[in-house]
């Protein structure tokens, strides 16, 4: 029994290298070491699995060996098929992704790696731009400062085309003689276009030599990284070589081409490379479609025309940028106009100020310095009695300009100033008018006598007064006037003799005289207070000399009484002014009158 063999553990045989697939009964054997028994047991139980595991380990070892050899094999395969378009096509996408990932994740490494390439590219681009700029500048400067150049500029401005295009139109500043499309590697000419009327040439030889010279220059003086011949100048000929990865474009040019031509050639070359994507270079010259396209796009005249159109398009694109310049010019013009207008107004104001200052009595203008809108300095001789200049300066409308007056004193003989001086020195009273005409001082009006007396002495000594005409009357006070009028009234009343026909009978023409007496007496009563005087009335009778003295005295008394009564009846003589009675000596008048006596109040 297998079970018994297993039970004593000594009947196991050495493990067979190729144990049978089926379990076998083992004979009873002397006991074996425990380890061997386990191995035997393992072989019995897991023989198939152990063999499968060994085979798997062997396969894994083989895979690992292949993996270790894979890089070398891959490199070898890539080197062997490097020129294969299929390999390039297959690698294009992963390489692009890998490059993108490298730029994102290891930018500095990429930058460091590309630095030797980027530097020359940038320098080349800048050098090309500067060369184009210099070429354009040279062309522009050559014709800018001539009458013809100005005429062309005007034509360019009106037509909205670039100046360079006009220059080209008039001068044909350059022409393209030959265009070569050359395979970069072999130097074989893929396409050759020449301007009409030019003799035939060996394009292949020229293309080859250009390539050889390019290689020669690149190897001799160029730097690593693809530097090559870009242009060469020989006499009036200029050779431009526009480099591409597969083909180059060479142009033989006479004259000074515009900077845009190189851009156009570069654009053409890029288009050609796009057309060559799926074509082998050696087959390209035999492709009828490509030949037709290249013939159309590389013809010298077509290039010249396209360069002109590109310049025009660029100019149109630049068109709007001209408006700011125009606007700036307009603004500058407006600013200049405004400036000159302001300056004109300022000058007008200064001229007006000068005229007013020159006309100002008592001021002699000796200088007027004006710094526009900043400062005005007035210098001159100033009479102290002249009118202040402040009014003139305020009316001059000088804005924020600072105004200074530098004056030196002097005495003016101007009539207007002399009048002011007279008024100041004589202290003219209100009732006196003064005027000066050609040095003649005229004073008229009323003034106190004391002033009149003093003015009469001083007026002739005033500077500028050549002669004095004084018609000033003394100016009386109201009391005096009243007193004078009272004196006049006293005389008037004495003259108003009231006539009598007989005794105390009023004569027929005596009524009006009585009325006049009443009016004068009333006026006297009114003036008494104003004259600060006491007045008194006396009715005086008189008679002729006929009759006795007694009779005459009686008649005189009666007549005085009659007049006093008549006046009293009409309001005269009451109150403060009683009418006394009096008599005259016989005077051969049958009349009576009212005597007025005035006595000054204490």
């Amino acid at each position: 029994m297998t079970t018994s063999g297993l039970g004593n553990g000594a009947d196991a045989q050495p493990a067979d290298a190729n144990p049978p697939a089926e379990p076998v009964l083992l004979p009873l054997l002397p006991p074996a070491p425990a380890e061997e028994e386990f191995d035997r047991l393992r072989a019995l139980l897991f023989g198939d699995e152990l063999r499968a595991a060994a085979a798997a380990r062997a396969r894994l070892a083989e895979v690992e060996r292949l993996q270790r050899a894979l890089p070398d094999r891959l490199l070898g395969a890539l080197e062997a098929t490097a020129a294969s378009p299929r390999v390039a096509h297959a690698l294009a996408r992963p390489v692009a992704y890998a490059l993108g990932a490298a730029v994102r994740e290891n930018r500095q490494v990429v930058v460091d790696t590309l630095f030797p390439v980027i530097g020359p590219l940038i320098r080349k681009s800048i050098a090309e731009a500067l060369r184009n700029l210099m070429a354009d500048l040279n062309g522009a400067i050559e014709s800018s400062f001539t009458l013809r150049g100005l005429k062309w500029r005007l034509e360019a401005w009106r037509g909205g085309v670039p100046y360079a295009q006009i220059v080209l139109k008039h001068r044909l500043a350059y022409r393209i003689d030959h265009v070569f499309l050359i395979a970069r590697e072999s130097g074989l000419v893929l396409r050759h276009e020449s301007a009409p009327d030019l003799p035939a040439l060996d394009a292949d030889a020229i293309g080859g030599m250009l390539t050889a010279i390019g290689d020669f220059v690149g190897d001799s003086v160029g730097q690593a990284g693809g530097s090559a011949l870009d242009s060469a100048q020989v006499g009036e000929y200029l050779v431009w070589v526009v480099q591409g990865p597969r083909v180059n474009l060479a142009c033989f040019i006479r004259g000074v081409p515009p900077g845009g031509l190189r851009d156009l050639l570069q654009q053409r070359l890029e288009e050609i490379h796009a057309q060559l994507d799926d074509v082998r270079l050696e087959q390209a010259p035999h492709d009828a479609a490509l030949a037709a396209t290249w013939h159309e796009t590389l013809q010298p005249l077509a290039l010249v025309q396209a360069a002109g159109i590109d310049e025009g398009r660029a100019a149109r694109q630049r068109g709007p940028s001209r408006w700011p310049l125009l606007l700036l010019l307009l603004l500058a013009l407006a600013a200049l106009t405004a400036f000159f207008a302001q300056r004109e107004r300022w000058d007008e104001r200064i001229d007006a100020l000068r005229a007013r200052l020159q006309a100002q009595p008592g001021f002699v203008l000796t200088g007027l310095d004006a710094e526009p809108w900043r400062k005005v300095t007035v210098r001159g001789l100033v009479d102290p009695d002249a009118e202040s200049l402040r009014g003139i300066l305020d009316r001059a409308d000088l804005g924020e300009a600072k105004v200074e007056v530098a004056g030196t004193g002097y005495l003016s003989t101007d009539d207007a100033v002399v009048v002011r001086r007279v008024r100041r020195l004589l202290a003219l009273p209100a009732g006196v008018d003064s005027s000066v005409h050609e040095g003649v001082l005229e004073l008229k009006g009323k003034a106190p006598e004391a002033w009149i007396a003093e003015a009469r002495q001083r007026a002739a000594w005033i500077a500028g007064v050549r002669r004095v005409a004084m018609t000033v009357v003394p100016d009386a006070d109201p009391a005096s006037t009243a007193r004078a009028e009272l004196a006049t009234l006293a005389d008037t009343l004495k003259a108003l003799q009231v006539p009598f026909s007989n005794d105390a009978t009023l004569a027929a023409d005596g009524g009006p005289v009585v009325d006049d007496v009443v009016a004068a007496a009333k006026r006297a009563q009114t003036l008494a207070d104003a004259a600060h005087a006491r007045i008194s009335f006396t009715s005086v009778g008189s008679n002729d000399e006929v009759g006795t003295d007694d009779a005459n005295q009686r008649v005189r008394s009666e007549r005085a009484r009659w007049l006093a009564d008549a006046l009293a009846a009409r309001g005269i003589g009451g109150g403060d002014h009683p009418i006394a009675l009096g008599e005259d000596a016989p005077n051969n008048r049958r009349a009576a009158y009212l005597r007025l006596d005035v006595e000054a109040s204490p």
Binding site: M209, A212, I213, A291
Partner: protein
């Protein structure tokens, strides 16, 4: 339809007669001075292949040298065929030509190659043994040429044309 053009490079030691062979074969456009300045002179010639097909050879006459430098290697790029030239009167020039061939293989692995042993007009002074030439003919087309008389020149180029035809 334009004529198919092929770049043919002439390689050989100094003074083996490369320029004279080219001058015999083509009508030169450029003066020989380019050889001493730029190191190469390019000419072209249209011819008929043995099958009657018109071809154009753009012949790069590379200045003589005993070894291929970087500039010379640049000049070889894109060439469809090599015309090795040796001087029959100088056996060493044959070694140089073969050495140049070996070096050019790194640039032109698939180019057609023809060997011209020049100066046939001086055959009495030749150092190159006929047995050597016979041995070489087992691996290369070899032509005995004379730029002076023109013997063998056309044949050498015709052989190139034949080998370039598909």
């Amino acid at each position: 339809m334009s004529v198919a053009a092929f770049k043919i490079c002439m390689l050989g030691d100094f003074g083996v007669g490369k320029t004279s062979l080219v001058a015999r074969f083509v009508r030169s456009t450029f003066a020989p001075k380019y050889l001493t300045t730029v190191g190469v002179k390019v000419d072209s010639k249209e011819l008929l292949s043995p099958q009657g097909t018109p071809l154009k050879f753009v012949v790069w006459d590379i200045a003589g040298r005993s070894a291929l430098d970087a500039l010379g290697a640049n000049y070889l790029r894109g060439a469809a065929a090599l015309l090795l030239v040796a001087d029959g009167t100088r056996e060493h020039s044959l070694s140089v030509a073969l050495n140049l061939l070996m070096q050019s293989r790194s640039v032109l692995p698939d180019a057609a190659v023809v060997l011209a042993v020049n100066k046939l007009d001086l055959v009495e002074r030749w150092e190159v043994a006929p047995t050597t030439l016979a041995e070489l003919r087992r691996t290369l087309p070899v032509f005995e040429t004379s730029a002076l008389s023109g013997d063998g020149v056309e044949n050498a180029f015709a052989e190139i044309a034949a080998r370039l035809q598909p």
